[in-house]
């Protein structure tokens, strides 16, 4: 059994969800090249506007018309997004661009034994979208589509205007007095084929299911990419934060379904003159909650100046990864933490810069410079075999005047291995030494430069 869902006003209705004022206006979407009305809202319908009417005719019907250009790419993206939502409930989906899709109920028969169950699921999935749709159910994809488009209950009642055939053939049928699919099917197939040609035979075979439809099946997207046009130009970050929140909530929904988190957000702000401001929000530790992501975006946005008013926002989420959950300790009682460590580190890195926040980690090496490394913040310290090392390290050893120092303990000789010896003898003698003011330092004598250096401090 096939279900066909048609969404005649998808793009406009999504626009209304984001900009609720539109519901009180006569709004239409029009094709920019042909100046034809493509989608409209109920108020427009009440004003007498129909799909396929020219924009000029629509203006004559009402003066309060709010026309917006119809964007085909956006429509396709919306349909894809919708399908990925429906994918939660239906395994086999095929898109029928620009405004419909097929669902195969057969693979889901165990879950939804009756058609009514499938329809309930469909309603549940589409409810948050706040869009109007019509559906039709049939034995073959084509019948389902014809029923959905015509709104008829029986396949036999479908007017032939809805048949996907050439205008010539439709004209011929009408002249023969055949107005419904039922009337057409009543004619014996060989007779009809002889009179009306090959095209009709193939069409009837498709309707009967004797010929397979070639459908391209939908597979869920790997990345999250969305664009959102704004109703009015926004000139400040503050005005952008509301629509941005909307996008982030959809992202959260997307990530929730996959139990994933994102590590990189790419925000694009489209300006009137085709220029784009791009903002990259890197999250070292991943995030998925809209609230938290919005805060990170705001932190980033504060640092950048908005050069021109924005017409459209784009959001892309990259570097998706499985979520990591912080395990609490049952015995130690509830933690007092108000946010997770990952969240905290994200916030710190966004404000201070990625390089400014790091962890330190031991490395299993003998040489001083190699025995530690900067690690991503939050990494565990690790273990070491080394002994008698100072807690402070001066990253760039400072040349010192040895007369100010009094050597205490040493030497401890460090020689770089022979395979690293190409720049001469790199041996060093390390000493615990005392500065003449009483502080304890960690000095070394470098044989290559023949000089004393301060490399760390004890205590």
């Amino acid at each position: 059994m096939w279900l066909y869902v048609t969404l005649p006003h998808l793009q406009l209705e999504r626009l209304q969800v984001i900009q609720p004022d539109l519901q009180r206006q006569v709004a239409v979407l029009y094709d920019e090249q042909q100046q034809l009305v493509v989608q409209m809202n109920p108020l427009a319908q009440r004003a007498g506007i129909r799909v396929g009417m020219t924009l000029a005719d629509a203006w004559t019907l009402t003066e309060q018309l709010q026309p917006y250009p119809y964007r085909e790419t956006q429509q396709r993206a919306l349909l894809h997004h919708l399908a990925s939502d429906l994918y939660h409930a239906f395994a086999v989906i095929s898109l029928d661009s620009p405004a419909g899709l097929w669902l195969d109920t057969k693979p889901m028969q165990k879950l939804y034994p009756q058609l009514q169950h499938s329809l309930t699921q469909l309603e549940l999935q589409l409810q948050p979208w706040q869009i109007s749709y019509r559906h039709g159910a049939g034995k073959t994809p084509l019948v389902a589509k014809l029923l959905a488009l015509s709104g008829m209950q029986q396949a036999a009642d479908v007017p032939i205007d809805y048949l996907p055939c050439s205008p010539v053939l439709r004209q011929k049928l009408k002249r023969m007095g055949i107005h419904t699919l039922g009337a057409l099917q009543a004619i014996p197939r060989p007779v009809a084929g002889r009179r009306l040609g090959q095209e009709l035979v193939i069409l009837l075979a498709r309707i009967q299911g004797e010929q397979q439809e070639t459908l391209r099946y939908f597979s869920p997207p790997v990345w999250f990419t969305q664009r959102l046009p704004l109703l009015a130009e926004a000139g400040s970050w503050q005005a952008l934060s509301f629509p941005l929140k909307r996008l982030l909530q959809e992202l959260e929904h997307f990530l929730e379904g996959r139990q994933q988190q994102t590590r990189q957000l790419l925000l694009s702000f489209y300006h009137r003159d085709e220029r784009v401001t791009k903002l990259q929000v890197g999250l070292a530790h991943g995030g998925y909650q809209a609230e938290a992501l919005l805060r990170f975006c705001q932190l980033k946005m504060e640092a950048v100046q908005l050069l021109a008013p924005v017409l459209e926002i784009g959001l892309q989420a990259k570097q998706l990864q499985p979520r990591q959950h912080e395990a609490g300790d049952l015995l130690q009682g509830p933690r007092t933490a108000t946010k997770s460590l990952a969240q905290l580190l994200n916030e710190l890195q966004l404000r201070l810069g990625q390089q400014q926040v790091f962890g330190v980690q031991t490395v299993n090496e003998y040489l001083t410079e190699l025995s530690w490394q900067r690690a991503p913040a939050g990494a565990a310290l690790g273990n070491t075999e080394l002994e008698k090392r100072p807690p402070w390290l001066i990253e760039q050893p400072l040349p010192v005047d040895i007369r100010q120092w009094h050597l205490h303990q040493g030497p401890e000789r460090y020689a770089s291995p022979w395979w690293q010896k190409q720049n001469g003898n790199g041996a060093r003698d390390y000493w615990q030494a005392q500065h003449h003011d009483g502080r304890q330092g960690w000095l070394f004598y470098d044989y290559r430069h023949q000089h004393w250096y301060l490399h760390g401090w004890f205590s």
Partner: protein, 222 residues
């Protein structure tokens, strides 16, 4: 005694000069400073959820040794240790030498922040404390303002962390610290070894105090 006053006594925010602030012990916990005399003067050591100031005439004169036991406590609790604008890099092998069980020692988390501006450093400290994640927070600041200290004091009150602010010698005007420790650094006349003298400008449960001279405290590693 008046009821509001009694509340302050119960919280340990106010105390009589001749008695220790023990009432607060159930909410906060003490960790040793590693120095017996200093522990005694502080009524048990550093208190968590409070601000402790360490005033040093110059860096690297044993201030890290005083907070090392707090590092160990935080590591045992599996909470990270934050270093905000330290004067040098904390050297990982030395940190990994602290006398702890190996499994705990390996899992220690030291996070270093090097903000470009002092205002960012204070913001970071406050954010970290508010998050409730930190075990120990160390902040090196040149001249933290009264307001900044007050804000950190409020943030620390619910953080569960040991908070230390290391700065050069400051004027002795009132600040929201629980402990103000001034370190005097000098040289032993005979051995020429460095020695320190701790002056407590402010402490919980006692009058200001100056302790006897000590040899430089040592980092408790191997």
């Amino acid at each position: 005694m008046q009821a509001p006053l009694q509340q302050l006594f119960d919280r340990g925010s106010l105390w009589l000069g001749n008695q220790q602030a023990h009432a607060a012990a159930d909410q906060t916990s003490f960790v040793t400073t590693g120095q017996f005399e200093l522990d005694q003067a502080l009524g048990g050591g550093w208190q968590s959820q409070r601000l402790h100031e360490i005033q040093v005439p110059q860096c690297f004169i044993g201030e890290l040794a005083l907070v090392a036991p707090a590092f160990m406590r935080a590591t045992q609790q599996q909470r990270p240790i934050f270093w905000i604008s330290p004067p040098a890099v904390p050297y990982a092998p030395a940190l990994a030498q602290l006398p702890l069980a190996e499994s705990e020692r390996e899992q220690a988390k030291h996070i270093v922040l090097t903000p470009a501006r002092p205002a960012d450093a204070l913001w970071a400290a406050e954010t970290i404390l508010h998050s409730g994640q930190a075990g120990v927070l160390l902040l090196w600041a040149e001249q933290p303002s009264t307001i900044a200290i007050r804000r950190l004091h409020l943030a620390a009150a619910e953080s569960g962390a040991y908070v230390f602010i290391v700065s050069p010698w400051q004027a002795e005007e009132a600040r929201s610290y629980a402990t103000r420790l001034r370190v005097h650094f000098s040289q032993d006349g005979v051995t020429k070894n460095g020695q320190v003298q701790w002056q407590l400008l402010k402490r919980t449960g006692g009058w200001p105090l100056r302790l006897a001279r000590q040899p430089l405290p040592q980092w408790p590693g191997k």
